[in-house]
Symmetry: C2
């Protein structure tokens, strides 16, 4: 067997095969390409912001490399170049946003704004999004709410890629759950997790590096767990061979909120994001955003004191032998962001070419 590569979160191994560029340059190039592809200023601004977020915190799979894909989908007609968002306020705390088949980032960021407006009055804002498309990293939207001072949850369902517990076919997507909370004088607490253990591009990475996969993260086409990246055909839900029913159910939570409550496409029914023939039909993807105003609960000041104390306690917790330290959700991302703001963002050769860097 080949040596084993440890799981390293959502960070792609771009370091070896790539060059680094300043975020500001990438931002300009991404926006330029989307503009050339015909995207409206409002929608390309949102997409650029979300891709830069992902590229800065180290989620390269959802970063600037997606620019070319989005440009292709704008050209093919799957994505509406000039979407007109429609907001339907359904009640004091709830709304539906219709993304008009444009770039999903635009609808999702707007839904956060709508959620904040609702939460400021109702204490909570729950916003379903329909007729949307790929939104990049769900964490970008949880973060957008937290940066404005609100506890925020964002989720989406995605293309089938993950087996059910005891299943032998792709069923749910990697369906992320993203939560963020404001922290006084600090970057937010931020969790952006796939409900599978690893993303599919991790399998592809292991395949190209000829490295064995960890146990219980992928299965062959019969649903049997495998550590061979070459026979891996689908992902397994978080929790592995024994507790994967929890990860599968969490993926179902994403589908429940994103697709069932919004009346949009089920994971198994999506026109494939990549690799299919059809790049002209909109995918009617759904998302969901929940925004909570701490002022309508314990109060903003006491909430700030509580989360500050909680995080101090967490970060000073005793460390097990062999580990370096204990981190809070987001800590690794903010460190990576600081590093990349200093050293530049790694970009793969194909994307360097496409962006004209």
């Amino acid at each position: 067997m080949t040596p084993r590569l440890a799981g390293v979160g959502e960070i792609l191994d771009l370091e070896s095969s790539s060059q680094r560029f300043p975020a500001t340059l990438l931002e300009e190039k991404v926006a330029t390409r989307l503009r050339e592809a015909g995207a409206s200023e409002a929608s390309l601004t949102a997409a650029t912001r979300a891709m830069l977020h992902a590229s800065l915190v180290g989620v390269d799979s959802h970063g600037v490399r997606l620019t070319e894909h989005y440009c292709n989908m704008l050209a093919g007609g799957r994505l509406n170049k000039n979407p007109q968002l429609k907001v339907d306020i359904r009640a004091a705390g709830s709304a539906m946003v219709d993304g008009d088949d444009g770039l999903g980032h635009y609808a999702a960021y707007h839904a956060v704004e709508v959620g904040i407006e609702l939460a400021q009055k109702a204490g909570v804002g729950a916003v379903g999004i329909a007729h949307s498309s790929h939104l990049g990293a769900a964490g970008a939207y949880a973060l957008a709410g937290a940066e404005r001072g609100f506890v925020t949850f964002a989720t989406t369902n995605t293309d089938s890629m993950v087996a059910l517990f005891d299943g032998a076919a792709r069923f749910h997507g990697t369906n992320p759950l993203a939560f963020a909370a404001p922290v006084p004088d600090s970057r937010p607490w931020l969790l952006d997790m796939a409900t599978s253990s690893i993303p599919m591009n991790r399998v592809l990475l292991h395949r190209s590096l000829e490295l064995e996969l960890p146990d219980g993260v992928a299965a062959d086409k019969h649903g049997g767990a495998t550590t061979d990246p070459n026979t891996a055909d689908m992902l397994l839900p978080l929790g592995g061979a024994e507790y994967g029913y929890k990860g599968a159910a969490l993926a179902g939570v994403a589908t429940l909120f994103s697709a069932l409550l919004t009346g949009t496409t089920l994971d198994t029914d999506f026109i494939p994001m990549y690799g299919g023939d059809d790049i002209s039909t909109p995918r009617n993807m759904g998302h969901f955003v929940l925004v909570i105003d701490p002022d309508k609960f314990v109060g903003r000041e006491l909430f700030g004191a509580m989360i500050t104390r909680y995080l101090a306690s967490l970060r000073s917790a005793p460390v097990r032998e062999g580990a370096e330290r204990v981190m809070a959700p987001g800590d690794r991302e903010w460190e990576e962001m600081a590093h990349r703001q200093q050293e530049g963002v790694p970009v793969d050769p194909d994307t360097i070419r496409f962006l004209g860097l």
Copy 2:
């Protein structure tokens, strides 16, 4: 090494050492004991309902065996025998419920009712609960909302028992996340999961049966993963050695909603539920309930059609070799409930004695 017992969800192995009794008889006996301990009718009715839910769906750790513990806490003064709930409607979609230090089940069921009232008008109701106590199985409250036709989320933080990822001390509780959704002409979709892989009583069970634990679910007192139930001193978060940062963050979500937003006790600060000297001081436990009205999103009828189609697709998914079938969250619980309604609920000898069965 001793043989390995497979993980079997939250079901305690009561089958061998116990007798079975009809649920109606248990309900009567539990209520009688709580009444004798001085609990008000309103609070004992809620506690009995929640314990019977747990006992019927097979979560025996949170079932009727807790009656004696609650009676002791009522006697000791930790629990207020006659709590007067206070509801503070903070805005159109948000409220705080003060449990007045009574049985937590009472405050939590009432919070679901408040959430439903808010959601019927605002589309969503977010309810924080403070000055509460142990609420049993969080799924009982998600279920209560779903049985009334609402998508419902319920969570609580609990006594420290689970290490952080790379940590060497108990930090979070087993902090459950419970979600439920109504399904037309069927029992609800129901997820009630600890954010650790297993509960602590599973470790105790393996210890008494001299069975090895699965990999990556428990750690010794230095935080090192162990499969020996005798050296296991704390639990590990869902995701095990490689992906436990996800489970740890999900435990943090429970704490974020239950304690930080409500201004109640952090996991590490709780007076111990069991085994401490202090049974007279209230624990100021917090919970959180979120209720969503499908009518304010896609509409109740279409939501019902969507979830029906989703569940049919899930249950008919191909099964991997060696497995019997694919189940939706809740399916196992509803089967267990049907079985126990027929055959009776297994009760351990100590509880048989205490209830006077």
